[in-house]
């Protein structure tokens, strides 16, 4: 296990920590698993800062909800992680009202195809989620209708 393969071994380790990859040979499972969980907690905190209403809406369920969604799924950055999670919860019918209002506002403000970074919308637009309706005019977003509670 020596000589010139540091790049490959680092890649294996990161894959094990964030992408559900197998534990590389020779590593102690329990400490690496503790590190994997710590990374998920830190990432959950980062996403909560970018999506404060989504996290607040989930309250005590946030760590488990985020952790369950994010485990084995590499990050695309906090903004997109939160966006992807909010859309998935919306599709499952479990997006809390606060999260729906935040998602509606984000959808009105930017165009996000789920694959590339979101881009600000130049034209007026309406965003909807869970009954919430947000409108964006000249870059300013207003919530027209709150989510159903």
């Amino acid at each position: 296990m020596t000589g010139g393969d540091l790049a490959a071994r680092q890649a294996e380790l990161v894959a094990a920590l964030v992408a559900g990859g197998p534990l590389p040979a020779g590593f102690a499972p329990a400490p690496v698993d503790a590190a994997r969980r710590a990374l998920l907690r830190k990432r959950g905190g980062d996403v909560a800062r970018h999506w404060p209403l989504l996290a607040a809406g989930l309250g005590a369920a946030w760590p488990a909800t985020f952790g369950g969604w994010a485990a084995g799924r590499p990050t695309n950055g906090s903004l997109r992680d939160g966006w992807d999670l909010a859309r998935e919860l919306r599709d499952r019918g479990t997006l809390p009202a606060l999260g729906a209002e935040e998602l509606a506002a984000r959808e009105a403000a930017a165009r996000y195809d789920g694959h590339r970074p979101p881009r600000p919308r130049r034209l007026p637009a309406v965003g909807r989620a869970g009954g919430a309706v947000a409108v964006q005019l000249a870059g300013r977003v207003r919530l027209l209708r709150p989510a159903s509670r």
């Binding site: 296990m1 020596t2 000589g3 010139g4 540091l6 790049a7 490959a8 071994r9 680092q10 890649a11 294996e12 380790l13 990161v14 894959a15 920590l17 964030v18 992408a19 040979a25 020779g26 590593f27 102690a28 329990a30 400490p31 690496v32 503790a34 590190a35 969980r37 710590a38 990374l39 830190k42 990432r43 905190g45 980062d46 590499p74 990050t75």
Partner: protein
């Protein structure tokens, strides 16, 4: 612009008001990735600079320990931030944060091998060639080790510092965490590090969780970490100590108490 001196605190937008109200504060650190090299500084930070307070950019995503060469754009950003805040030095970690196209999301440990030493040294030299100021390197807290370490922690760090001439940013909370989680003696490490190379010291809180001590930066500074500050100062007092807090911000009185405890442990003037 003088180097960091005395007791400082990690500047974060959430506690900008608290930091601005510290009457005798002389230095802060700012996460380099959160500052734009061109354009206006965050309001609170600009005010501190206006008062002549030293600002040290602290990088967290350069990945100096990555096997690949450090990303020139990230390096240029760090250099730009250093110039923007007129920093006396910058700091980064002996760690890697990405590999194989995946972001780990936090600092990961390197194998303590000759190959890893060579990779870090090459990247630190690339950084030094672009940076307008010296760089201080921070050893991290790690929950796990690689299976094939050739060097112990002190030898690993000393080789990197010797080969690069870099300064040391010693994090006593990381020293505590690593010793606790490996059943090692933190003082034995302090005794073998080149303490005359310390530019400043990090202090932070943590908590036990799932059988490990986690360096969370969101919990109070434990007594053991404060004791380590005292042990460090008894050996070689560093020029400066910096409190890192990254969330679950306590009431101002509690945070002031931690800054006062740092000052007392090191014999520095209080900043509160």
């Amino acid at each position: 612009m003088t180097g960091p001196h005395g007791v400082g605190i990690g500047w974060r937008p959430e506690i900008a008001g608290f930091v601005a109200d510290l009457p005798r504060l002389r230095f802060v650190e700012v996460v380099a990735e959160t500052v734009a090299p061109a354009g206006p500084l965050p309001a609170g930070l600009a005010e501190l600079r206006g008062r002549g307070i030293t600002v040290v950019p602290h990088g967290v995503k350069l990945s100096l320990g990555g096997a690949e060469p450090v990303d020139p754009a990230r390096l240029a950003h760090l250099a730009g931030v250093a110039a923007r805040v007129d920093a006396p030095l910058v700091s980064e970690h002996i760690a890697f944060v990405r590999a194989g196209g995946l972001e780990a999301g936090h600092l990961l440990p390197l194998p303590r091998s000759r190959e890893a030493v060579a990779a870090v040294v090459a990247n630190v030299r690339r950084a030094q060639a672009e940076l307008p100021v010296p760089i201080a390197l921070e050893p991290i807290a790690a929950l796990f080790d690689w299976p094939d370490d050739e060097l112990d922690e002190a030898a690993f760090l000393t080789e990197i510092l010797d080969a690069t001439g870099a300064l040391l940013l010693l994090d006593v909370a990381n020293v505590h965490a690593n010793a606790r989680n490996r059943g090692a003696d933190p003082l034995a490490l302090l005794d073998r590090l080149p303490l005359d190379r310390v530019a400043y010291v990090h202090v932070a809180g943590g908590a036990d969780q799932g059988g490990f001590y986690h360096d969370t930066h969101t919990d109070p500074v434990p007594a053991e970490v404060l004791d380590l500050v005292g042990e460090l100062c008894a050996r070689h007092r560093p020029p400066a100590l910096l409190l890192e807090r990254d969330g679950h911000y306590p009431p101002a009185a509690e945070l002031r108490g931690e800054l006062d405890a740092l000052a007392a442990a090191a014999g520095f003037p209080v900043v509160t």
